[in-house]
């Protein structure tokens, strides 16, 4: 075990995997000399050479499309999208090509590729450096969508994603990069894509979340436990697609109360699928209406500190209040 922050866990995992397997190539904007705008590939260019660490032109659709070609011909490309907000030009290549390749060829061709994208807000990134994009992609059959919230999960899930025979969209919340630290196993630890993870046990209510919001839920849960003796069970979805409904439903059946929390704007967000699944599968286990907390339905997220703060926290202690009210209801 080594303690590191989330971005270091990703860097180290990439480094270990690239040192292990020369089919892995990294491509994206500024991944080479600059080592990535978040320094994820710092030093990689010198160590692995320009053939494996490719500074691309400014063209996301091309980055993904070229990675698809590489993946169809024996390489294991890892495409870095500089900010998740800039993945949109690649939407067609991801949805129409990467995600459909295996299905449309009845299994003949596959696209073993990872797309890494730093996402999320609360980092003063304004409208185009703060977006959550998981809802768009979790809906796409043929694509796996992962968002780790801890360094250990990031390492284990990324390693599995690289070895997965199908395309994986790997979302990294920028706010977690340096803020979240934790122990990471030193070996080549693999965490399967799919299973959610109960990050905190509790009997009074279930909280389902992921990414940076998960940590805010954990903080709120701790506060409620110490100050009011309310024990919340906190489930980290970890993999949006495929979605682990079993773990979520098991917790809900146990606590009979659930709040779903996500940063993305609320309406038609990923939390809707989670809430809907509970409403279909566990309705009669519920003692209270499902509570869903998402961001305001505005383009994430304004620049001015006051406006950004409003997005992240429309009312003070929003989570603690919602969890308390639900537990007391």
């Amino acid at each position: 075990m080594t303690e590191k922050n989330l971005v270091t866990a990703i860097r180290d995992t990439l480094h270990e995997e690239m040192a292990e397997d020369d089919r892995i190539v990294l491509l994206g904007e500024d991944v080479g000399a600059r080592g990535g705008v978040f320094k994820v590939s710092e030093g990689f260019l010198d160590e692995f050479g320009p053939g494996r660490v490719i500074d691309t032109p400014l063209a996301e659709s091309g980055i993904v499309g070229i990675a698809i070609g590489m993946a169809m011909d024996g390489l294991l490309p890892i495409a870095e999208i500089e900010f998740a907000d800039f993945i949109h030009p690649a939407f067609d290549q991801i949805v129409s090509e990467a995600a459909r390749m295996r299905y449309r060829t009845a299994g003949d061709w596959g696209v073993p590729m990872v797309i890494r994208a730093p996402c999320g807000g609360g980092i003063h990134g304004a409208l185009y450096h703060s977006q959550s994009i998981e809802a768009f992609y979790a809906h796409v059959p043929g694509l796996k969508v992962v968002m780790p919230s801890t360094p250990a999960d990031a390492a284990g899930l990324l390693r599995t994603a690289i070895r997965d025979p199908d395309p994986v969209l790997f979302l990294e919340h920028k706010k977690c990069y340096r803020l979240i630290t934790g122990d990471v196993p030193d070996g080549a630890d693999l965490i399967p894509l799919g299973p959610a993870d109960v990050k905190r046990g509790g009997d009074d209510l279930t909280v389902v979340s992921y990414g940076y919001e998960l940590h805010r839920c954990l903080d709120a849960a701790e506060r409620l436990a110490t100050e009011e003796g309310i024990e919340a069970e906190v489930v980290d979805v970890r993999t949006l697609a495929p979605l682990d409904t079993e773990t979520i439903l098991a917790s809900v059946r146990k606590t009979s109360k659930v709040v779903v929390v996500y940063e993305d704007n609320r309406t038609y967000g990923a939390g809707a699928e989670i809430a809907a699944t509970i409403a279909e599968e566990a309705l009669f286990d519920l003692d209270a209406p499902i509570v869903r907390i998402g961001g305001p339905d505005i383009p994430a997220m304004p620049y001015a500190a006051a406006l950004e703060h409003f997005y992240m926290e429309p009312e003070p202690d929003r989570l603690v209040r919602a969890m308390r009210d639900l537990a007391r209801s």
Binding site: A59, G62, V64, G65, P77, R100, R104, A106, T160, P165
Partner: protein, 337 residues
């Protein structure tokens, strides 16, 4: 500047009489499959047909410069001639036309002409136009990365060149001097939209300069000129000199697809005029001149191919349809990671 490439003597190109005969056979096969497919459509057995007629010359001409089994093919839906050259059989074509379980491209999941075969090194191609251009660049990158002696051929219509993906894919290939050849089958129309509404230049090949690669313009009804331009591009690619953009001026004799009505956007006279430049006629004449194929031989070949195609149709029609339940399969790899 983009240079005009014109007809060369077969000998100079290293093509034997047998080669020329094989090329003619492939072109004729494509033409006869087209006619047969449209008959199947009228009979109500094939809901959707994408004609090739008019493009056979530039497809077989350019396709002949690639090495089946070694090089990689990245065709688009119009490229029946290309996939025949790559090794797809008429029987396999009709399995696709009838969306049968054994359709090698997609098991009946995609529309006809949405080619793909790992075995034949034909990349799977979707409906969205130009998405295959970056794929071709990526494959060329992978091949070069491993040091494989592989050239990637990537075909598309002039309409595809308007898409951002075309620009991004060609640019990347040029920057890395990748072993890929971009072949534009310019038939003047993107469905109904005439070239003059697609670009303000006469030749797509003019764009090559802007990427720092050579551009070639060839008469698509001149099979040997197409072959010569492609051979040169193939040599460049293998020599590590990077991509070439080859533009073949061609024409689609039939509607865009069996769903299209081309009378709405082009005159019969225009179509007739182009039929006079049919590569099949022109190339047939060349074979006659050179005593490779006389009228009797041509007739015989045609009858033989028709029989083969009829047999293929029968066999394909009798092949099993996909089992409905299989619709749920292959969303992800079935063996798992």
């Amino acid at each position: 500047m983009s240079a005009q490439v014109t007809e060369a003597a077969p000998e100079a190109l290293g093509l034997t009489g047998d080669d020329l005969l094989a090329m003619y056979r492939a072109m004729l096969t494509a033409r006869l499959i087209d006619e047969a497919a449209l008959r199947q459509n009228r009979m109500g057995r094939a809901p959707f047909v994408v004609p090739v007629s008019g493009h056979e010359g530039c497809q077989i001409g350019t396709g002949w410069a690639l090495r089946p089994g070694t090089d990689v093919w990245v065709p688009y839906y119009r490229d029946l001639g290309i996939v025949l050259r790559a090794g797809l059989t008429p029987y396999e074509f009709f399995l696709g036309l009838f969306s049968k379980a054994d359709d090698p491209s997609s098991g009946g999941r995609q529309m006809p002409n949405h080619w793909g075969s790992r075995r034949l090194k034909i990349l799977s191609h979707s409906s969205p136009i130009a998405t295959q251009v970056p794929h071709a660049a990526g494959i060329a990158y992978a091949a070069r990365y491993r040091g494989d002696d592989v050239v990637v051929g990537c075909w598309f219509g002039e309409g595809a060149t308007s898409e951002g993906d075309w620009h991004e894919g060609v640019n990347f290939a040029a920057i890395h001097r990748l072993p890929v050849i971009f072949v534009c089958e310019n038939n003047e129309y993107a469905i109904s939209v005439h070239q003059t509404k697609q670009m303000a230049v006469r030749d797509v090949a003019t764009r090559a300069d802007g990427y720092g690669i050579p551009g070639r313009v060839v008469d698509g009804s001149d099979v040997l000129a197409c072959y010569a331009a492609m051979r040169e591009a193939h040599d460049r690619a293998r020599a590590g000199e990077g991509p070439t953009l080859v533009e073949c001026k061609t024409y689609r004799f039939l509607p865009h697809t069996s769903d299209d009505d081309d009378k709405t956007y082009r005159s019969r006279e225009e179509v007739e005029e182009h039929r006079h430049h049919d590569a099949l006629i022109r190339f047939g004449a060349l074979l006659r001149e050179r005593g490779i194929l006389d009228d009797a031989g041509a007739e015989e070949l045609r009858d033989q191919l028709k029989d083969e195609i009829d047999a293929a149709i029968q066999a394909a029609w009798d092949a099993p349809d996909p089992d409905p339940q299989t619709a749920l399969r292959h969303v992800f790899a079935e063996d798992g990671p």
